[in-house]
């Protein structure tokens, strides 16, 4: 039905480090995969040191995903509809858009197209980063250092899936559904609790402490930089397997059953932890369901719930901002108490 795929964008840019070649970082990789299976989970917040390959992992995941059909020349990466003429359908790689620190609001939401306003006297909209991230990933490094008002705006758009622009005499809305991935080092500044809570999953990223793992990290990275194409060839099979597993999980997801018992367990756990609102339970159940789909399970069990409790809940505990008792250990304790195996 689709015509011969055309490159919508010049995607022949530099090779990307393969997802399956990443050493360690199991928690981050799993969280990203789950968000790719079910974008409704609501994004990932990765907290940890610099240079641990957080952005590599995001880019690698996008590379893993199959190219998506788009309308050629459409700035919003729109999905072709039934009435799109076939010659206007192209394909593009799932976008990963970086939000640079210090980006202005105009860059993010879009603004009046200056050039057209000046040279042709037309009032036209120049889409921003949110439009480019539609159907892909929006990656914010050092999200904890981002200006508060920008963060509010991003979270609002991420939650509604729509960007509403009202400025400089322009009034329009366009879809902007993306998986928000934030990273940061909590030592450098903290995130407001309201903001923490809006990320679906939170994972902690550390430099591997084990020497063998560190050597492996350096070895692969060095091999990749010396000869990226040979390196990619080595991992092609593994990448294909991972891609197939991901696509299977996506197809399988709607059929995964969530028994009432699991819902009850999730609620009991959240009650025990005193998380605000229902977002904790919802994310926990969604993540557990995506995990079941990824592992080819027919129904969600306590096992999946236990495994997802930490990333889904550790950032939702109400706590005194000056209290530095580890929330991870609180979640672990609550899991052991309320959801024994």
């Amino acid at each position: 039905m689709l015509p011969a795929p055309q490159q919508a964008h010049a995607a022949a840019s530099r090779p990307v480090f393969p997802f399956t070649a990443i050493v360690g970082q199991e928690e981050l990789r799993l969280a990203l995969l789950l968000c790719a299976v079910d974008p409704m989970i609501g994004g990932v917040l990765a907290l940890g040191d610099r240079g641990t390959g957080k952005s590599t992992a995001v880019r690698a995941l996008a590379q893993l995903l199959p190219e998506m059909p788009v309308i050629l020349g459409d700035p919003y990466n729109s999905e072709p509809g039934p009435d799109t003429p076939p010659e206007r359908i192209g394909r593009m790689r799932v976008p990963v858009v970086d939000l640079p620190l210090g980006a202005s609001e105009d860059r993010v939401v879009g603004a009046l197209d200056l050039e057209r306003a000046l040279t042709r006297g037309e009032k036209a909209f120049e889409p921003g980063l949110l439009a480019r991230a539609h159907r892909g990933f929006l990656y914010i490094d050092e999200v904890n250092l981002l200006e508060d008002h920008l963060v509010d705006l991003l979270l609002d758009v991420a939650a509604s899936g729509e960007n509403l622009v009202e400025r400089e005499g322009i009034s329009l809305r366009h879809p902007a559904r993306f998986v928000l991935v934030g990273s940061g080092n909590p030592e450098e500044g903290e995130l407001r609790p309201q903001l923490l809570d809006r990320f679906g999953l939170a994972v902690e990223v550390r430099t591997p402490t084990d020497l063998a793992a560190r050597i492996e990290v350096v070895k692969r990275r060095d091999a990749f930089e010396r000869d990226p194409y040979a390196f990619l060839r080595r991992y092609r099979r593994a990448e294909e397997r991972q891609r197939a597993a991901l696509l299977r999980a996506r197809a399988w997801l709607p059929r995964v059953v969530v028994p009432d018992q699991v819902l009850e367990d999730a609620s009991r756990l959240c009650l025990a932890l005193g998380t605000d609102g229902l977002r904790g339970e919802l994310t926990l159940v969604r993540a557990a369901r995506a995990l079941a789909a990824l592992e080819g399970q027919r129904r969600v069990g306590r096992e999946q719930l236990r495994r997802m409790a930490l990333p889904a809940l550790r950032h939702r505990l109400r706590r005194n901002p000056l209290d530095d008792a580890s929330s991870s250990s609180r979640v672990e304790r609550a899991v052991a108490e309320t959801l024994p195996l």
Binding site: A10, S13, R14, D49, R50, G51, G53, S55, D98, P100, L101, G102, A103, S104, E105, D106, R107, A111, L112, D113, L114, E115, R116, A117, L118, T119, R120, G121, E126, R132, D141, E142, N144, L145, L146, E147, D148, H149, E168, G169, N185, E187, E188, G189, E190, R192, T207, L211, R214, I215, V217, V218, K219, R221, D222, E225, P321, L322, D323, D324
Partner: protein
């Protein structure tokens, strides 16, 4: 000749990322740069930029003047694309904003410039190295952490500039230089020993070792290349003294000479390769020998090293596009400045009858018509706590003072203020916590603060003043909160004696007033002290005696002062 950063960088500028030159402006630095430049390939670009170039100059964008003149969009190439294959010299790099640094870092990572805005789409290769000229004086004045991460070397030019050598042959040899796996393992191990966590640093060490081998005419990286790389790349990033290097451990016994293994590539009849573990020890020992004895004291603890520059990032100094709009002013709408369309048209309107109108355009605009939006941004406040931890204070109520500061910290959290903590006791003042948003750390710092010793009040006030001025230069509003009983007994120069000490303390307090730094003095003595009151008056500070001030009142007072700062 032992190769240094300049030689290796000239061999592999893009791969090694660059160098930080920490030195004041002067002939030593110039000579260093001249030597580096002489070793770069002929015709390699070399551009020097100020720390905060607007985006369209850095990355390229729309050339407004040309666009208007031609009536069609004219692109302007950015500096980053123009230094492809060469070096970019950043003057006063310690003043670069974290935002600019983050964007340059992204280009370094991707090695290409991609601009998609203002209706333009530019893609250009940008493989280059950075030379960051760091003229910082204070230890926490440093180029942004995002860039420090991405350059291999740190150098301090001295009177002997690097010797200029031929590098062309080394560059040609570089792609074929082989690095034996055991070297990779040894360098990774050395990094772990020295407490260097970032895998990026290890990758730089590998490349430096390859460059050193290429420079020496070798096709396989030898131990001395690895040792050099370890010293130049890893030792300067060390966050801890290697465990083994310090103990009087005998040198690893030189492995007994065996006939060289059948590794055909190693042509020199090489000594048998030591195991990676032995090699690691050798490398670490070599690096440790070059660690100046006081270096590790100067190395901030790990979390601090990570924070430097980064912590400053959240508060970009002055945003052209953030805050409450307060009108328009003439200026070109480039970079972060946004066009004020109506005002621009209004400015152009009166001239329309006089100006020839180009075909197919409704109005004739000239660059001087442009108006851009102005914004006023709420100033961020930094509360600087200067806490007297001397014996007299400890005796009285250091614990209560700590309690009060904790309450104030909770307030700061609500207001999203930054806090810094200075403690003074014994001989001098110490910056326990540089300005940060991480209030949990402030609390930990405070809890761990020991009491006892003399009262160097003057030093404490002077440290607070210095920090306050530094914050003000960064565009933030400082507020100094001094907690003391006012009984100074150590003078500014460190000598004992109450009279001199009081005199110096008053002097330091007057300096606070002269600098117009808002201050609050909390008297921690059991009974209000005339000394403390006099100090408060000299500093023009709000005076709050602790006995009367319960924690709630303290917090209200500081809150009110902070609000005044914001509105002012």
């Amino acid at each position: 000749m032992t190769p240094g950063p300049a030689h290796l960088l000239a061999v592999d500028p893009a791969g090694l990322g660059g160098v930080v030159l920490r030195a004041p402006f002067g002939p030593e630095r110039d000579a260093w740069l001249a030597a580096l430049r002489a070793m770069m390939p002929a015709g390699a670009p070399w551009r020097r930029i100020p720390p905060d170039l607007p985006d369209n100059r850095l990355f390229g964008g729309l050339d407004l003047a040309a666009t208007l003149a031609h009536g069609r969009p004219v692109a302007e190439a950015g500096v980053l694309a123009s230094v492809d294959g060469g070096l970019l010299v950043v003057a006063m790099a310690e003043r670069m904003s974290a935002a600019t640094a983050a964007r340059i870092a992204a280009v370094l990572d991707r090695q290409e410039v991609a601009v998609e805005r203002e209706g333009l789409r530019l893609h250009a290769p940008a493989r280059f190295g950075l030379v960051l000229l760091d003229e910082g004086i204070a230890p926490d004045e440093a180029p942004p952490a995002a860039l420090l991460e991405r350059v291999a070397f740190r150098a301090m030019p001295d009177r002997h500039p690097p010797e200029v050598v031929q590098t062309a042959a080394a560059r040609a040899r570089l792609p074929r230089v082989r690095l034996p796996p055991r070297m990779l393992e040894a360098l990774t191990g050395a990094a772990a020993e020295l407490g260097v966590d970032s895998p990026r640093a290890v990758l730089f060490a590998l490349r430096a070792a390859r460059a050193a081998a290429a420079l020496a005419g070798r096709r396989v990286v030898a131990e001395e290349d690895a040792a050099l790389a370890c010293r130049l790349v890893l030792a300067v990033r060390a966050t801890r003294r290697p465990a083994a290097g310090q103990e009087a451990e005998p040198e690893p016994p030189p492995p007994p000479p065996e006939p060289a293994e059948a590794e055909s590539e190693e042509e020199e009849s090489a000594p048998p390769p030591p195991s990676p573990e032995q090699l690691t020890e050798l490398l670490v020992a070599a690096a440790a020998a070059h660690l100046p004895p006081d270096l590790l004291e100067a190395v901030p603890p790990r979390s601090l090293a990570a924070r430097q520059g980064g912590g400053r990032a959240g508060a970009a100094r002055r945003h052209a596009s953030i805050g409450r709009p307060i009108g328009a002013r003439p200026g070109l709408p480039r970079g972060e400045h946004r066009l004020a369309l109506l005002e621009t048209l209004r400015a152009a309107a009166p001239w329309q009858v006089l100006r020839p109108r180009p075909p197919q355009r409704l109005i004739a605009l000239r660059p001087e018509d442009f108006r851009i939006r102005c914004f006023k941004r709420r100033n961020e406040t930094t509360s600087i706590f200067a806490v007297d931890a001397s014996g007299s204070a400890a005796l009285h109520r250091l614990a209560e003072a700590k309690g009060a500061v904790e309450l104030l910290l909770a307030d700061c959290y609500v207001r999203r203020d930054r806090v810094a903590l200075i403690a003074f006791r014994g001989r001098g003042a110490e910056l326990l916590l540089p300005p940060t948003h991480a209030l949990a750390r402030a609390k930990r710092c405070l809890a761990a603060l020991p009491g006892g010793g003399a009262t160097p009040l003057a030093a404490g006030l002077a440290a607070a003043l210095d920090l306050a001025c530094a914050e003000e230069r960064q565009g933030r509003a400082p507020l100094v909160v001094v907690m003391t009983d006012g009984r100074a007994n150590i003078a500014r120069d460190g000598s004992a004696g109450a009279a001199r000490a009081q005199e110096d303390a008053l002097e330091a307090a007057r300096a606070l007033r002269l600098a117009r730094i808002p201050a609050i003095l909390i008297d921690t003595a059991p009974r209000p002290q005339p000394l403390a009151r006099a100090l408060a008056e000299a500093a023009d500070a709000l005076y709050l005696p602790m006995p009367a001030a319960d924690a709630a009142r303290l917090s209200r007072a500081v809150g009110a002062a902070a609000r005044q700062l914001e509105s002012g």
